[in-house]
């Protein structure tokens, strides 16, 4: 059959692509969805751990896009959409090439930037969201810190969230 040839996957990110021009900001389309590493970590229940941040707080990008932006694996990028902005790790997608598209596995990080619009069909739009990606020095937050920073449910002083101590990787509650 004559379908689109299965592409070979490059193993390294090339920074010296002749056609790539370094830029600060990239307009891309965001897709979210399940991924086996995110699924395994979430279902085991290890959502507070650094492991979950590594598998769900990550934007899988095309190596060409990474070269244009000047980021390498595990550099931090800020993803900004109409609904919010979140800092995630950048990583080389194993499904590349898909220039102009990034993939963030479903989870608290992706939720910040996806659209809650259901168009009266009950289902929010988790795929095909237009957003921009830029390089940043900010840290990727752990799950508990992210929930606190974004939704501020039990925070009294909203301005001072940045100075609060991290909630850590273990459950925090008062024992009897």
């Amino acid at each position: 059959m004559t379908y689109v040839d299965k592409p070979a996957i490059p193993k390294v990110v090339k920074f010296d692509e002749p056609n790539a021009k370094l830029r600060n900001k990239l307009d891309v389309m965001l897709n979210t969805g399940s991924d086996i590493y995110q699924g395994a970590c979430k279902k085991r229940g290890s959502t507070l751990k650094d492991e979950y941040r590594k598998v769900a707080g990550v934007a899988y990008m095309d190596p060409k896009d990474m070269a244009k932006l000047g980021v390498s694996n595990w550099d931090h990028v800020k993803v900004i959409s109409d609904w919010g902005e979140v800092v995630v790790n950048a990583a080389h997608s194993r499904d590349a090439p898909h220039e102009g598209t990034i993939f963030i596995p479903k989870g608290p990080w992706a939720n910040v930037v996806v659209s809650p619009e259901t168009y009266c069909c009950c289902d929010p739009t988790y795929k095909g969201i237009m957003c921009t990606v830029e390089k940043t020095d900010d840290d990727v937050l752990l799950m508990a810190d992210l929930m606190r920073a974004v939704y501020k449910k039990y925070v009294k002083d909203e301005e001072g969230i940045k100075d609060l101590a991290t909630l850590g990787e273990m459950p925090v509650y008062k024992k009897l």
Binding site: M1, T2, Y3, V4, K6, P7, M29, N31, G33, S34, D35, I36, G39, A40, K42, R44, G45, S46, T47, L48, K49, W83, D95, A96, H98, T101, F103, K106, G107, P108, N111, V114, S115, P116, T118, Y119, C120, C121, C122, D123, P124, T125, Y126, K127, G128, M143, A144, M147, R148, Y151, K152, K153, Y154, K156, P171, V172, Y173, K174, K175, L176
Partner: protein, 452 residues
């Protein structure tokens, strides 16, 4: 290469033929290796199933908790926690009971009674995953078969908008592609696997044919196949980025199989055309049935997400998003669904049972959860616990407690108990029943006061 872990040999006993409590495949051939009352190894399961069953005990919810004035969760006893939850539910004007997909049908039974009593909206994870599929099924029909039929007969398996290798890892191995069936004695060699997905996913990598049409191109692509099946000539050179000759070739190949199975996932329901994508896929399957046998099946995510839909459709007539606010059941898409109720800020008490809205809802919906009391019944400390006010630790259906679940093709399966639950936890069924009793008591007191 990765370092492979040696097989687990240090265990006390084996419990055979357990049912996996992860995805809609409900693999019922798992063996658990038990040591000191914990599962230390799982045979036959996929990476996802094994990791869920060998859970992370660090984050297991062990004790009931209530959020204090200072915003910190504090351990409490069962009576106090249940009373607090019952008080919230009984005093609510527009409560939502969301979740149910990772618990048993028996639990849902009590949940439905509670929902009817207080006029709640009962909804499950279908509302954020396969809801549009259920709408499409109501629009256009449900040409389904069991997975056993697929295993024994299918010579073409078509995955569309679904990455089975990542979200249902044993689906291909156990039901569709690799197993040897009665009429497919050579297994994989007797079948053609096609993946339609804009992404070159792990499933696409192992398919015979990958059609990488463009994003949001599903509707146009299926329509083109329908046109070709009806003998029309395609007017455009490219359909969703795919040359028209290739579309014709694929349509011809789909026509010339003996038994085809189309599996679709969230790639169809989460893109812009939502339920219309699935409408057209169902109609395509109907058209293909003029030539040969084709079936279609949604790739359901949780092990009992289909169970809730079947249970609710049987009990109330509607599959999900059932609203009892008027005392009788109503169902209206875009009105009685959790995400819409939350973005419109209608809900005033939210109870989540065996689900994780904190991890899977869009931020716009979680923002309202941050403004209202949230009751959580779950087994693990997750993103939802960070926004929960009352936490009730449940038990693990399929490992620590038995229960009925429905596979993605609608086959009911009994999930047996293998180990004992932690002493301080309770069965989901007991928790919901206890809440029901307590809410009934509060309502009776209110009724007695009103009649005076």
């Amino acid at each position: 290469m990765a370092n492979y872990e040696p097989p687990v040999t240090d265990y006390d006993s084996i419990v055979e033929n357990c049912t996996c409590a992860f995805c809609g495949c409900n693999c019922d051939d798992l063996d658990y290796l038990i040591k000191d009352g914990h599962v230390v190894g799982v045979r036959h399961a996929c990476r996802l199933g094994a990791s869920k069953i060998m859970e992370d005990m660090d984050q297991r919810l062990m004790v009931p908790m209530i959020r204090g004035e200072d915003g910190e969760l504090a351990e409490t006893d069962w009576d106090t926690a249940l009373d607090k939850a019952a008080e919230l539910i009984a005093g609510a004007i527009r409560p939502i009971f969301y979740g149910w997909s990772e618990t048993s049908i028996e639990t849902m039974h009590h949940g439905l009674e509670l929902g009817e009593l207080v006029g709640a909206v009962l909804d499950n994870q279908a509302t954020i995953c396969h809801g549009p599929s259920l709408q499409a099924v109501q629009n256009a029909g449900y040409p389904i078969s069991t997975l056993g039929e697929v295993k024994n007969r299918a010579d073409m398996c078509l995955y569309t908008g679904s990455n089975a290798m990542n979200s249902h890892p044993r689906h291909m191995a156990r039901y569709s592609t690799f197993p040897r069936g009665y009429f497919r004695p050579r297994g994989r060699f007797d079948r053609t696997v096609v993946t339609l997905d804009p992404k070159y996913s792990d499933t696409a990598k192992m398919s015979d044919i990958w059609v990488g049409f463009e994003q949001n191109g599903d509707y146009e692509f299926y329509n083109a196949i329908r046109a070709v099946l009806k003998g029309k000539k395609l007017q455009k050179e490219f359909i969703s980025g795919i040359p028209k000759e290739d579309v014709e070739e694929l349509a011809e190949a789909m026509k010339n199989v003996q038994f085809g199975a189309l599996f679709f996932g969230l790639g169809l329901t989460h893109t812009l055309s939502k339920q219309r994508n699935i409408d057209i896929a169902i109609q395509m399957v109907a058209d293909l049935n003029s030539y040969t046998k084709w079936i279609l099946m949604p790739m359901r995510g949780h092990f009992n997400v289909n169970g809730f839909n079947i249970f609710m459709a049987f009990e109330t007539g509607f599959p999900y998003g059932v609203d009892f606010a008027r005392g009788y059941q109503r169902y209206m898409n875009g009105e009685t669904n959790t995400i819409d109720l939350l973005t419109r800020k209608e809900c005033d008490v939210f109870m989540v049972i065996a689900a994780d809205p904190g991890a899977h809802y869009p931020g716009g919906a979680i923002k309202h959860l941050a403004e209202i009391p949230v009751i959580q019944v779950d087994i693990h400390w997750g993103p939802s616990t960070e926004i929960a006010d009352v936490v009730l630790p449940g038990s693990f259906v399929g490992v620590e407690v038995g229960g009925t679940s429905y596979r993605m093709d609608g086959v009911p399966i009994w999930m047996k108990k293998a180990i004992d639950k932690p002493e301080s936890c309770r069965d989901d069924e007991w928790i919901i029943k206890e809440l029901l009793e307590r809410v009934k008591k509060i309502k009776a007191e209110q009724g007695a006061l009103a009649s005076k």
